[in-house]
């Protein structure tokens, strides 16, 4: 099975030199070992080495792990027919969801949606893929931005919202699935942070990060129950970013513990910043990560097939579903070429990026 070099030499048939050429060591490598080696490679390398030879291609495919990209979920102005768009496969799925009648979307994470029904003043969790519905206690939300930490089926799920009371006071309300009522507490606030309908919320490592329209961050610690206005000042954007509606058109997400914010402006290319200890750093590359940006929720993903790396995907689809509008940091351009992207003017409740489950075959049958 392995190394016939010793045998060849013992036979005295081949000289040392010839033996080296004749032996096809690595082609004889057992599949299990080949798979073990290849499983240590990134998706990029995995795809690259699948062109070495048949055996390697087979091994690469068997250990290849491809992540699922989020889908765009479109909320119709009327009716109950919802459109889901998969940017990888470039496929659209139409699904009837009567459960979402008169609901306004608030947040999306891990296959789940958080929605608000103004008529009943209820927030509710809904999984459009399994049709599971989890109601929360009554809460008058108006147009506050609200988020949740993890799937409502997970033990530590927490729903969070922050409301402006006065320049020096914010009101924070939290709730978890299964609770009978919301918990609301006032906290001391520092002025650069102003809570508004332009808040961006992200949960990461036990903290809810809240990006205000001013660009200052407020942080709620779910363990310590504290509210802190982060001392890091907003990033210095190019001058043009401060024209018309400069406080709109921002997106926030996290990747492996790093907080990322995307600043957009109508006639400029988007800029991605990463939160560091004392400042926001402009990112020239995302290290292979793809960002999916929507007003209420944004996601970060890696190891995808069918979408570009180091890019930001928005919730606009062009050419009859053939192209999702994206901005590439590598090539500093939009795909397709920029027509006019004013992301600040998009309807916040019209679409959202949602993570589909691993297996959605039942979902698409409906």
């Amino acid at each position: 099975m392995f190394c016939s070099l010793a045998e060849a030499l013992n036979d005295g048939q081949i000289s040392n030199e010839d033996a080296k050429e004749a032996v096809d060591l690595w082609s004889e490598l057992p599949m299990e070992l080949l798979e073990l080696i290849i499983s240590r490679l990134t998706l990029k390398d995995n795809i690259c080495i699948s062109a070495v030879c048949k055996k390697w291609q087979s091994a690469a495919i068997s250990v290849r792990v491809v992540q699922k990209s989020p889908w765009i979920m479109h909320f119709p102005k009327h009716g109950e027919l919802f459109e889901f768009y998969d940017p990888c496969q470039r496929k659209t799925y139409l699904v009837e969801l009567p459960e979402l009648r008169s609901c306004r979307v608030c947040y999306a994470k891990e296959n789940w949606l958080l929605l608000y029904k103004p008529m009943t003043q209820r927030l509710l969790f809904f999984n459009p893929f399994t049709r599971e519905l989890i109601k929360l206690p009554k809460f008058e939300l108006s147009y506050q931005i609200v988020a949740f930490s993890s799937a409502p089926t997970s033990p530590n799920c927490l729903v969070f919202t922050v409301r402006h009371v006065s320049p020096t006071v914010v009101s924070i309300s939290t709730c978890n699935p299964g609770a009978t009522q919301w918990s609301t507490v006032n906290y001391r606030n520092r002025l650069p942070f102003v809570s508004s309908i332009w808040n961006k919320l992200v949960f990461c490592n036990g903290l809810f990060y809240c990006l205000s329209l001013t660009g200052w961050l407020g942080i709620y610690d779910t363990q310590e129950h504290t509210w802190t206005v982060c001392g890091v000042p907003p990033p210095k954007c190019p001058e043009n970013f401060y024209s018309k509606n400069w406080w709109k058109g921002k997106f926030m997400t996290e990747y492996k513990g790093d907080i990322l914010v995307i600043y957009t402006c109508e006639n400029e290319n988007p800029i991605v910043y990463k939160l560091e200890r004392t400042n926001w750093t402009e990112m020239n590359t995302l290290g292979g990560v793809t960002l999916f940006a929507s007003f209420l929720t944004s996601h970060a993903r890696t190891d995808l097939l069918g979408v570009m790396r180091n890019s930001v995907y928005f919730t606009k689809v062009r050419f009859y579903g053939k192209r999702c509008v994206s901005y590439s940091l590598d090539h500093t351009r939009y795909y397709p070429r920029k027509q006019c992207h004013d992301w600040g003017e998009q309807d916040p409740f019209e679409s959202i990026w949602i993570e589909p489950p691993e297996d959605f075959t039942d979902f698409v049958k409906t």
């Binding site: 390398d45 690259c48 069918g306």
Partner: protein, 171 residues
Amino acid sequence: MKKLKFIGNPLLQSREKINMSSDKKWLTLKTTEDNEEFVVEESVAIMSNVIKNMVEDGCASSVIPVPRVKGNAMGKIIEFCKKHTEESDEKVLKEFDAEFLNLGPDALYDLMVSANFLEIKVLLDSVTTKVADMIKGKSSEEIRNILKIENDLSAEEIEESRRENCWTRQE
């Protein structure tokens, strides 16, 4: 003349002295391919799951025959296991492994296949990681050259691969 490789305390001169140190158990491993013998502490030898099972099942006699592994690979493996049994400092081990695995692809191959056969997980993990690092970022052609692998993919299969590869670069 049988070659006797003794791996242990360099101060000890003879086999008699080994028998006198009662707190340590010793095994003799003999590579049947080239008849090399290695005297090893049991605690080091049982890093190999195969040898561990033999010892636990009581079927390990004074000399354990080891097929399929050549003498020089065995020597290196024992050196690795000894270091990993003696040293607990992660940093020191990491440095040792980096130096130890500074080998050509063919030597790595021998080591890997032997570690797999002897079921030495730590060594197998280290070698496979080293090999993965070696091929990381290289084109398929470069890999074929280094490892002397023949390309047996059909034109369509290569085209399919190239198409998939596109997503990792640009649209």
